[in-house]
């Protein structure tokens, strides 16, 4: 007979044990927020959209799951054999009796280190004030010279030149060529920025590179490059990689463009806009001038009308009439005067005729004249023997004084 122990150790059901383990794991903060690195194997992505894979290293393996919503957010999906870092929380899949990592982020190994480095540098430069909005210089609205720092062989250069040609061909472009990836790229970029500022003094500098992996863009996260951008005299527009790429250069630059093409766009006015703007101005000038002309013409008409009211012409007309009247009266007066004078003249003639010596002679009187024509009306005028002329009504004859040359008493 087997003596049963007084206190039997409890017997667990599998479910209870599994649930217990799961609780233990899920209570552990470290296990709920961890990065695990390893090599990917058995990667699968069934129709559900969830990701299943195993992380392993030389001596252990870990089952991993990534649910569909997280899987959709990943820009990078691994292949078997990739060295990756996975972030997530550990838990237990009860049905299968396995613990596994429920992943939310997956990235290639190495990127994490670079990213740490990036964050540290970014924080340091930010603390220094290199990203301060107050430091940002305004971008010239009308650049005359644009400096470009990029690779002479890249698509970025071609894109930028095409954009500049299309938008604002009046600008002059100076390329300071440099490698934009690789170990020598940061020094090249720094030298190119320096040379442009020194020799050309462009209105704007475009610092650009086409898209690539994060390692390809790494030169734009270089501290020296960041400081060269900050100390550039000309404002710098960065256009590095794609829209989603942010580099230190983007933070330091006076303006960040998502792509090289966008950088060229931000640096220049668009000639289509310029043509519109100038025809708009021309239109406004036309309108204003037309208004001025219309107003002036109206003023002129108005003045003309008012002038007519006060015109001297009507006064002139009445004056002319008056002049007419006056002159008529003058003529009339003159005619009357003439008539009067003629009457007077006739009157005088008649009176003259009465007084005329001729009419006296006709009545039988004679006039005695001395030879010099002097009329004799006194005996004292003559002496005996003087010749005389005697005038009668129908002629004259000569005579001589014979006696009686003294006055009678």
């Amino acid at each position: 007979m087997i003596q049963l122990p007084l206190f039997q150790p409890p017997t667990w059901s599998v479910t209870d044990l599994t649930r217990y383990l799961r609780q233990k794991i899920e209570e552990d903060d470290v296990l709920q927020d961890l990065w695990v690195m390893g090599e990917v194997s058995n990667f699968s992505r069934p129709a559900s959209g969830h990701l299943y894979f195993t992380l392993k290293d030389a001596s252990a393996s870990l089952r991993c799951v990534m649910w569909r919503p997280n899987a959709l957010r990943q820009s990078y999906l691994p292949l078997d054999g990739d060295a990756v870092e996975v972030h997530g929380s550990l838990s237990v899949y009860e049905t299968g009796g396995v613990y596994q990592l429920y992943a939310d982020t997956i990235r290639p190994t190495g990127e994490g280190l670079l990213y740490q480095e990036f964050l540290r540098l970014k924080a340091r430069l930010e603390a220094e004030g290199l990203f301060d909005p107050l430091r940002k210089r305004p971008i010239s609205r009308w650049p005359r010279v644009i400096g470009i720092v990029t690779s002479p062989t890249g698509a970025a250069l071609r894109d930028m030149l095409n954009t500049l040609r299309r938008r604002f061909p009046l600008v002059k472009v100076i390329l300071a060529p440099t490698a934009v990836q690789g170990a020598e790229a940061p020094a090249g970029i720094i030298a190119a920025l320096g040379a442009l500022n020194q020799a050309i003094q462009p209105d704007t500098i475009l610092l650009a590179r086409g898209g690539g992996s994060i390692e390809d863009l790494w030169a734009f996260n270089d501290e020296g490059v960041a400081r060269a951008i900050a100390s550039s005299q000309a404002p710098v527009i960065s256009g590095v990689g794609h829209e989603t790429d942010f580099t230190i250069a983007d933070f330091v630059a006076d303006l960040r463009a998502p792509t090289p093409t966008a950088a060229a766009e931000l640096a220049t006015p668009n000639q289509d806009d310029l043509r519109l703007a100038s025809s708009d101005l021309a239109e406004r000038i036309n309108r204003t001038i037309l208004a001025t002309l219309t107003e002036t013409r109206w003023q002129l008409t108005d003045l003309g009308n008012r002038l007519q009211l006060f015109s001297p012409r009507s006064r002139l007309r009445s004056n002319l009439q008056r002049l007419d009247e006056l002159s008529h009266r003058v003529v009339l007066a003159q005619v009357n005067m003439l008539r009067f004078q003629r009457l007077q003249l006739q009157n005088s003639e008649q009176r003259l005729a009465v007084l005329s010596p001729v009419s006296v002679l006709n009545r039988g009187y004679a006039m005695v004249l001395q030879p010099d024509g002097t009329l004799v009306h006194s005996v004292t005028q003559v002496n005996v023997g003087d010749p005389l002329d005697v005038r009668v009504s129908d002629g004259k004859f000569s005579a001589r004084v014979t006696q009686g040359t003294t006055p009678e008493d």
Binding site: L157, L161, V173, L196, I285
Partner: protein, 84 residues
């Protein structure tokens, strides 16, 4: 004739010497002046003629412009011809 007229042109810039920016800025100034101030007819017409010339000049600058690209190597500039 000797080119002595250059000294007289200091008050009104000869249009051909203007950059696009200067021409456009002057155009804007003319609009502002015409729209905001009461100008004599004669002044208005002078400004109008000037503005016509500026508009044509701006369009001509854009029409005739060809992007110039040079490459800086060291201190020297060389023309750069790239396929578009």
């Amino acid at each position: 004739m000797t080119p002595s007229k250059s000294s007289k042109d200091t008050t009104i810039n000869s249009i051909e010497d203007l950059t696009y920016e200067q021409a456009f800025t002057e155009l804007e100034a003319i609009v502002a002046a015409l729209e905001s101030e009461k100008k004599s007819l004669e002044e208005s017409m002078t400004l109008f003629e000037r503005s016509q010339m500026l508009v044509q000049y701006c369009a001509r600058l854009l029409d005739q412009a060809e992007l110039k690209v040079q490459q800086l190597s060291g201190e020297s500039l060389t023309d750069l011809n790239l396929p578009a």
